[in-house]
Symmetry: C2
Subunit: 582 residues, 2 copies
């Protein structure tokens, strides 16, 4: 038996017990006649003491040879600690050691195993198994487990059944890129790894499973933007005999449960907003509603004068920055520089200071009088002391720019309270979006999303205006889940494929099995999928998802610890009936 | 709202309630003035009644058009049923319908959606979504979910953390075959899908996670024997600071919990047996110990006479068949034919009838006298009335043959009680096994399994006799789990790779990251993995695992429902930098 207790377990009430502990040497302090060792395991740290008077001489000698991260086992007696440490749970006791076994030695680790380490990202990824020993990473993984358990137990109690869908499926040319897997037994043919279990969960609904969920890995072979992974985990859910309202209520319940159980924070009703309202009010389909600075559209109030920049713009829109009127000229110039950075891309920014005395001072005083500016203040809800920032240009671009500015200012002003959780449903997404590159409409969500019945007639005339039964769940400015009510009849599905540019033959070859299934009594159904990696990071109060993934890949899709992907040998290629074509 | 209740929910206490139900038409009985419809969903069946006197005429007319598997919604009143059906939980009530909506029509399904269907395996696989509507499949999937939840909650309470390990890993030439995945971003390189998360879970132990588990898909691209799948699910577990005894106790706890909770059966202590004992006593390393018929080795008692067949054999071994002495000559001939089938492969069988009067009658009376046969009876534990079956030949072969005969007879004699669960630990597996084809030793478990310290010296002299710290959990003749205490130091791991025929360079290229990790303070560790598909099938009292997998593949590794694997187009191949080589 390697241990009688963990290193986080012993308390004052255990004093005088004979115990056996195992763990890693966190640090040693050698005072000559006395040696202290902090022994660490997953559960905590316990202080060991080797004392020349009370510990056998040979054991003391051996203790002097211990280095950082050695794995040891000790036997000893729990004694009261002289200088208690209130910061750790075992801080009232220490172990007077009388036996010491070195279970494994350790060479010096490439970075310190401390909460604040001296190791950079790359070295920590290469030695991820050492990084995991650090509390921030270890705790994130434990936290992820707890969230996943809460999700499973909640959904299970609500009658959902977790069903495993296959990983070796069929490649689809639609959407982001598939990872493919050559089949040895079926020469020249390939499986694909699922980008999501979408069609399978719909087939489970056709199969009468009624309420399905799965915490499942999904795969996407695309250029990795920061904080994306080629393999990622979804909480994938589907329900039969539901309308949008049923889905929203069910997953409002799940989200509330998580925030309540995990964060011990009670939250009010979930806000709801249409996609159009979100775009108009926040310039963004995943607005952070923990703070205001709502957009005020100024076209009417600003396009009646001689200011050509505004008059030529598709959209003129502003936000009021709380207490921004006190910004110096230099500070405002910096803000203008910020919006002109290539990442944001604005050409300039107009500002209006709302003075405490009720007057206005703007960068466009040449064109606009006090009444004009008062009107702007009213529209942007600016109070005396605020600063109005106004951008103009092509609608989609200017919304994105002002949204970026709004988020940046909120961050600087400390308006994004990490202890506050403000969930929001964004509903009524467009069914289709125009793709400039391919010059055709794409499904904004996916081709299985149902259009709103009252908008179906617009499919032929104004396809861009057709609204879908689609919804996103947004938490503090992050999309944490998205879903839709699906098409469940063969005709509508065929119509949809037609509008997405599939020939009937292509549709049949790719999704014939689904359209066939719809003929045998498909129930109305819909669902949602949450990105677990991001959800856990947000609940954990972190920005980056990597610490919540045990073995993440880097931006090139490489696992630098195991050095994958890698070359495979010719025999293997031959057996798979493929060759390289570089 | 599609429904106020499910189809399995309403009881006599709900009489007079106005309800809305949705579901599938299981069957209709049209008596002209009255129509009954059985409405089905996941939760049960509720009888609907359309009554010319009490139901609106148009509704009755519409009800006459309903076909099997139509999806409908009805509103009506819960009333008391005239002829109650005690077999179903809703059998005391029926719904007097006054509104009917057809949500989706259905064409005639290719097989009946009944517990006993008329559909063969192939057609049911092609239309798996219809097969899932049938109770046997649906209930198996629900059962699987319940088992998985029990596993997760039990292990979680025991302090295990579920950690997701990557699916896109590195290909290893060792062991069964990898599925590989070409990387678009890393030209000419490949990921592999994991055959198991073995090295990752060991790295998690090096990383101090202490107790890990994961219910995880694993992949093996090999010829599929009946009831194997290219993707399969494991309950993968690992613990640090443990000896074999700790692992056996922990997972004895899990298995006991499952059998108690799921089957409501309490079981006694788990038996233990060494690999050698299992092979000698049952001819098999996964013996079904619910019944006797233990092997009796007869070399000493049978090789002293002129019977050349026995004298030339490496092993002469028999079992006693309870009450087999009454078998007719014809029945015994049939048994002899059975063992001579190519699947079993014996050349013949010697038998001894143990007559009720204490005398013996054998097929080798020419060579052996009554004293000899009495001795055989003693060794095989045969009682008066039993039949002794004796096989002889090369040890491994004859053991396999007699083991097959033992199982067959037990099946015929009804000795394999499906309500009994008799778990057994088989321990002390050999570390290495000789492979005739490659003419070298292979790791019997895997290259990370530790040898028993007292046997290490045999590695150079008698490698086949080195025992490993490896164990299997066997349930009713099926291996449901297997594991080992791992090597945790670089030197032993290098020694092991050396004995498996790796050059140091090959070992470093493949597993350098693991051996590196062992230098930084690796704790002693070990683990186990359970095959969830089989475990669930056995707990569910079934022989085949397919019904417990939502979308299984056939023996050629094909998903015939979605028609995968399939061809992919040239553009896709080009982007992946590969071409076909048929």
């Amino acid at each position: 038996m390697y241990r009688s207790h963990s290193c986080g377990e012993l308390r004052a009430s255990d004093i005088n017990k004979e115990v056996t502990l195992s763990g890693w040497v966190q640090k040693t302090r050698d005072k000559g006649f006395m040696i202290w060792v902090d022994l660490r395991d997953r559960y905590g740290i316990t202080q060991l003491i080797f004392d020349e008077e009370r510990t056998p001489r040979a054991v003391v000698e051996k203790a002097k040879t211990l280095g950082r991260e050695f794995v040891i086992q000790i036997k000893g007696t729990v004694i009261e600690r002289e200088s208690k440490n209130k910061n750790i749970q075992t801080g009232e006791i220490e172990i007077l050691v009388n036996e010491l076994t070195v279970l494994n030695e350790a060479i010096v680790p490439p970075f310190t195993i401390e909460d604040k380490t001296d190791g950079g990202e790359d070295i920590r990824m290469k030695y991820r198994y050492l990084d995991i020993r650090r509390n921030p990473v270890k705790n994130s993984l434990v936290f992820r487990h707890q969230v996943a358990m809460q999700v499973r137990n909640y959904l299970s109690k609500e009658g959902f059944i977790e069903v495993e869908t296959p990983y070796l499926i069929k490649s689809t040319p639609e959407g982001a890129r598939d990872f493919v897997v050559p089949s040895r037994m079926n020469e020249g043919q390939f499986y694909a790894l699922p980008q999501s279990p979408q069609t399978f969960k719909q087939l489970l609904m056709v199969g009468g499973m009624d309420k399905y969920f799965q915490i499942v890995k999904c795969f996407r072979d695309e250029d990795l933007r920061a904080d994306r992974q080629p393999e990622f985990t979804q909480i994938d859910c589907e329900m039969a005999f539901v309308e949008q309202e049923d889905i929203l209520n069910t997953f409002e319940g799940l989200t509330r449960h998580l925030i309540t159980e995990i964060k011990n924070i009670s939250i009010g009703d979930f806000h709801r907003m249409t996609y159009n309202e979100a775009m108009q009010t926040y310039g963004n389909d995943k607005p952070d509603i923990r703070f205001g600075m709502k957009f005020g559209e100024l076209n009417k109030a600003a396009q009646h004068k001689e200011f050509k920049v505004f008059n030529d713009a598709e959209l003129v829109v502003g936000i009021a920055v709380p207490d921004g009127a006190s910004y110096t000229r230099k500070e405002i110039d910096k803000l203008i520089d910020w919006v002109k950075r290539p990442q944001v891309g604005a050409l300039g920014m107009v500002y209006v200071k709302c003075n405490e005395d009720g007057t206005y001072k703007s960068s466009v005083d040449k064109f606009y009088d006090q009444d004009d500016l008062a009107k702007w203040a009213e529209i942007t809800r600016a109070k005396a002391g605020d600063l109005i920032c106004v951008l103009s240009g092509q609608t989609n671009k200017v919304r994105a720019q002002l949204s970026a500015l709004r988020m940046e200012l909120a961050e600087r002003l400390g308006l994004r309270n990490p202890e506050e959780f403000a969930p929001l449903w964004v509903v009524d997404f467009p069914l289709l979006e125009w793709d400039e590159e391919t010059e055709r409409y794409h499904a904004m969500h996916h081709p299985f999303t149902s259009p709103k019945p009252e908008d179906i007639d617009l499919l032929d005339t104004k396809p861009g205006e057709v609204r879908a039964n689609a919804y996103d769940l947004v938490l503090n400015g992050n999309e944490i889940g998205g879903g839709s009510i699906r098409i469940h009849d063969k005709e509508t599905q065929a119509l949809m494929f037609d509008h997405l540019g599939f020939t009937p033959e292509e549709a049949k070859a790719q999704f014939g099995f689904l359209m066939d299934a719809f003929q045998y009594g498909a129930p109305p159904h819909g669902g949602i999928a949450f990105g677990l990696d991001r959800l856990v990071a947000i609940l954990g109060g972190q920005e980056t998802i990597r610490d919540f993934i045990a073995f993440p890949k880097n931006n090139s899709g490489r696992d630098i610890m195991i050095d994958a992907p890698s070359n495979i040998d010719d025999t293997q290629l031959k057996e798979l009936n493929i060759k390289l074509d570089l």
